[in-house]
Subunit: 211 residues, 2 copies
């Protein structure tokens, strides 16, 4: 099967706009995060090796290694989202069952799929939050000639986080195991609070450097 | 020439991450906006024709027509950004000239390219701001089953606007015609102020509907 990364950008946008439920917001969230990671990498690549930036070279090599790993994981997350969604739809589509045992089995499958469909965007949210942190370091240390790209990186990654967060919430809302759901929502809130502060600070740093 | 929309998503992300200066933040901004427009269209497509939503059908048909137009314009904006950047780099790369006349001619070409490279992301910012407004209407009226996608739409479009804004600023900063630059920066501030409010309100509406 060809992965999402093999699809042409225009065709992907056509699919996103169509009445088909996937790709949807979960895939867009992963792409936003992946674009953020790619732009962190770009700023690192345009800083490493420049004599003027020799003092931060080791730091930005470490950032680049992490951002490229995150980019690969976020690209993969586009497909994870489709699979998690399909599993939920598949479980809801099972025959409703004619006795209590069959009904309980269907419910259990739906609930298991909903838990997975909560964890998949939560993982995407975590990856986006990591990109936000790398963008902060890149905005502090990167080549001034491309520092605006570090600002775009942080906004793309933060939008990915806010977008993934909606998919965590929408699936967590249907989960009967409230300990599970509340735990995941608490993890999400912690990510969001920290990333909001870092994003605002990083965007301001970039604005002051280019202004 | 094959357009950006014909490039595979993974290859685009590879190019974005590379040490080549384009595609960069300007292209990412346009894609964020295009994803926002596509998700507005998706919610419209999944609402139009549903008996439960017959009362908003005419409104969402009008939204869909606009969002599809904006999606096409934002997809085109990916390439406009590359061309505007290349024109600036080309002008800076001209021979510096051995007399005042030649020097003045080079400066004039650089300044003209910088004005274009300010107007191109400002146009992208305007398109993204239009998507933000459509996402607001979609979040108010769209099918509840996919309302989270309206929330992703608004965050994608707003990230596109904030990203394009950095490219407006970075080019406006080098323009000697301060009336031109200040006018464009004032236009930008007006877009940003309005979109920030609409984005926060729309995201909250979506959260309350799914929570």
């Amino acid at each position: 099967m060809a992965g999402a990364q093999d699809q042409a950008l225009g065709a992907f946008l056509d699919d996103l706009a169509s009445e088909r439920p996937t790709p949807g917001g979960g895939g867009a969230a992963a792409i936003s995060g992946a674009m953020g990671a790619a732009l962190v990498s770009m700023v690192c690549n345009l800083t490493i090796g420049k004599p003027k930036y020799v003092e931060v070279e080791a730091d930005l090599k470490a950032v680049l290694e992490k951002s490229e790993k995150l980019r690969a994981e976020l690209t993969k997350a586009i497909e994870d989202d489709v699979q998690a969604f399909d599993a939920v739809m598949g479980a809801y589509g099972l025959p409703k069952g004619e006795n209590d045992e069959a009904k309980a089995a269907r419910t259990a499958k739906i609930q298991a799929a909903l838990k997975e469909a909560t964890d998949v965007p939560l993982e995407c949210a975590k990856l986006c939050a990591e990109v936000v942190k790398l963008a902060e370091e890149t905005a502090d240390k990167g080549n001034l000639n491309v520092i605006s790209d570090a600002g775009v990186a942080v906004q793309s990654a933060y939008a990915g986080l806010l977008s993934a967060a909606l998919n965590v919430r929408v699936n967590a809302a249907s989960i009967k195991d409230r300990d599970f759901a509340d735990g995941r929502l608490a993890d999400l809130e912690a990510l969001l609070g920290s990333a909001a502060t870092t994003t605002a600070k990083t965007y301001d740093v970039v604005k002051s450097k280019i202004g």
